[in-house]
């Protein structure tokens, strides 16, 4: 596809998603209470968006990923949260 075709197909959807991200970050800022590891990881992921390179999706997935290499003794729950929590090392 040409750049124009790509923009014609996806620009409005991407614009919509980007505004959702911005509104989410504003919502978190307005909320009371302490932040946690998820929004810290999220901000790092957003930084990746403005960097160059053609593998932004991969780099953002890596930001959220557990960087350790060995199995853990126990897990706090059956469900993943979406961002690695360094406190659970």
């Amino acid at each position: 596809m040409t750049k124009k075709q790509t923009l014609d197909l996806y620009f409005l959807t991407a614009r919509h998603l980007l505004i959702e991200v911005a509104a989410f970050m504003d919502r978190v800022d307005r909320s009371e209470g302490e932040e946690d590891f998820r929004i810290i990881a999220f901000r790092k992921a957003v930084e990746e968006l403005s960097k160059g390179g053609s593998n932004r999706a991969e780099r953002i997935l890596n930001v959220f990923s557990d960087p350790t290499t060995e199995p853990v003794e126990k897990s706090a729950s059956k469900s993943a949260t979406g961002a690695y929590n360094p406190a659970f090392k």
Partner: protein, 266 residues
């Protein structure tokens, strides 16, 4: 368009979904053994589940002209209990010869714990002994990268297993390359929020090509899209990919992989 749904949990879906799948061109489904959304009380729960997968569900699918195949295992969400793992594995040789069983799946890791890893090794060892195909579940979200690495390592440790007889599923942008480099098949799961989207799946195929890759919905009891493969096909068509490439991914590739079981017939 004819297609095969390579990963879907039909026991959790309604007959309306069978109608939609059939009318959209789906000719066969492959159903890995899965977590029920709650932990089963004992090994007897798995016997009932394996009976459902091997006896009842194929008849239900047949009413809509769809062939039903399945995979057996103790899923990673319940594999923290190693005694249960041993008990469930002891059931499998009894069911593995059923005509619709393609192999072991979806085996793998959930939170990457030591017990899950031990249970995965036990599954891999028995799969190698029985010489069956393997379908791997990779963990969700932040656990996927590490879990995919650990799983590849565990399978490679069982040197008798040929990588072309293994599909590593739920791959995303950060895991596709390592799966392909190790010689395994790649599964892309089109599942809301926690996995891939059909647009990203099309991107991945444009980057890595259409060899040894499949797309699936993994539709289950959660909010999911049983028709997701057709959305992917539409996306590929919209981008100008020829029907031959689309058919390769959604029909010919599943046949090529599943036929290695010696049981898969369309």
């Amino acid at each position: 368009m004819r297609y095969i749904e390579p990963h879907i949990h039909m026991v959790s879906r309604t007959t309306d979904d069978y109608i939609d799948l059939a009318t959209s061109g789906c000719v066969a489904v492959s159903e890995p053994a899965f977590w029920a959304g709650y932990d089963r009380c004992s090994v007897d729960g798995f016997r009932d589940y394996f009976n459902q997968l091997t006896k009842y569900e194929p008849l239900r699918a047949k009413k809509y002209g769809i062939k039903h195949y399945c995979w057996l295992c103790l899923n990673p969400k319940e594999s923290e209990d190693l005694n249960l793992t041993r008990e469930v594995l002891s059931l499998i040789p009894e069911y593995i010869k059923s005509p619709n069983v393609l192999g072991f799946g979806e085996i793998g890791l959930n939170r990457n714990t030591r017990n899950e890893f031990k249970a995965l090794e036990m599954h891999i060892e028995l799969a190698a002994k029985l010489d069956v195909l393997i379908l791997v579940h990779t963990p969700h979200l932040e656990d996927k990268l590490k879990g995919t690495r650990l799983t590849i390592e565990a399978i490679k440790n069982e040197s008798i297993i040929k990588p072309e007889r293994v599909i590593i599923d739920h791959a995303e942008e950060h895991t596709v390359k390592m799966i392909k480099d190790a010689g395994f098949w790649v599964g892309l799961t089109l599942y809301p929020q926690t996995k891939c989207t059909y647009t990203r799946a099309a991107d991945i195929i444009e980057i890595y090509g259409s060899d040894k890759i499949m797309v699936n919905s993994a539709a289950d009891w959660g909010e999911s899209v049983p028709m997701a493969v057709t959305y992917f096909a539409k996306e590929m068509r919209l981008r100008g990919h020829p029907d031959s490439v689309i058919e390769k991914i959604v029909y010919e590739n599943p046949i090529k992989f599943f036929s290695q079981s010696g049981k898969f017939v369309i």
